[in-house]
Symmetry: C7
């Protein structure tokens, strides 16, 4: 419960660019990959992303820009 945990959500997102994330969208599809960048609307660029439906990888993406309003949550993968 250090001070570094007290950042606002959007600040935390910014500090985690270039790290692995899983993004779940409102349509329940997930994208796993490197979060290249993100803005305050949660628009984000992912690189080397895999699209996962249930437990199956159904697509691969070199670079993809996700529109923020579709985001349900962003899981930081390096912290479980």
């Amino acid at each position: 419960m250090s001070q570094t945990h007290a950042q606002r959500p959007l600040t935390t997102l910014q500090k985690n660019t270039k790290k692995m994330v899983t993004v779940r969208l409102k349509n329940e599809v997930e994208y796993r990959g490197m979060m290249d960048n993100v803005d305050n609307y949660m628009n984000l660029i992912m690189t080397n992303a895999e699209e996962v439906q249930g437990s199956k990888v159904v697509g691969k993406y070199g670079r993809v820009i996700v529109r923020g309003n579709n985001v349900l949550f962003i899981k930081l993968e390096n912290e479980l």
Copy 2:
């Protein structure tokens, strides 16, 4: 019915960071964990969160940022 109860909803949320909450999203899935931080749009960071569908834990999250527009409600767990 003390004065401390008269805070606006967003102020109350801010005062309850670092406490256990259950967040229900519009898709009826719930996340239980520590509310690390929250902003006025109800974007929130949760740590050590469990995803619960019905009564089953279906996922575990080290740190996850939930987009506020998906939030149905946030239950403060230490107050029932």
Copy 3:
């Protein structure tokens, strides 16, 4: 049809904090309890709330913050 009835809806809500309300959300679930506070977006804090689906109580909440955009209506219980 007194003057006190001529308040704008959000003013009326503010004057009814600390009173019993039933809040129906867009997903047709209702929450009955004390409206601890409310803001102009209709974000609200409820205390000692019961979640009601149909006529069954399906949950109890010590303190819960409901996000305003999900609200269908708020019924003032002490006035029927």
Copy 4:
């Protein structure tokens, strides 16, 4: 087609407070009662309202605040 008919919709609503209306919400449920007040977002207070589903009265409300974004239309009852 008098001049008094040329008011903007929100002005017309304001001039019809304290009159009987039927409000239909997006979920197709209707509320009939006295429109105690209304604001420009179409948040409205109704008193002595009946909830009608199809042709059945399924609830009665002493005073209820409806969130404007759920409103489909407001019918002025004293003008058919």
Copy 5:
């Protein structure tokens, strides 16, 4: 293709108040009647309106205020 056709959509709406229109809402129900007034959000007042579902008239309205965000389109009836 005269100059008078080059008006912006909202200006065209304003110039057609007091004329017959058919308004289709997002729930696929249509209202036919006189467009008494309209604002830039497409909130509109209709008088002597008929509610039409499929090809059946299912309701009559002396005066009704439709919330603009529900509008799919407004057909100008005197111009086919």
Copy 6:
């Protein structure tokens, strides 16, 4: 790939008023006709429009104002 192609989407729309377009709405219905005018919200006026569901023409419209938030896309017909 001339310079004239480098216009922003809304500028391109403005330059194509008085031309034939097909507009698909979110409910999957299409309207084919002359785009009389359009604003930056994508509210648009169409004249001599046909409503097409699947491959069937199901309606004809002398002049219709479509609310922009319902638009999925606008296809410029003179450019295939």
Copy 7:
């Protein structure tokens, strides 16, 4: 992980006009073609686009303007 990767999502989109993209909309339909231009709302112009449902091409578009609020994601095709 060069500096050029650190652009914000909307800047990255701007830098990729005149390149091949696949745009998936919220209704799960995809459009593959050249992204002629795009604005900060993610309104975009595509040229020589194919509409793909599942794995079938179901339409061809000379030039089409897609309304940004419908966009789920934009995949940059030249980078897998």
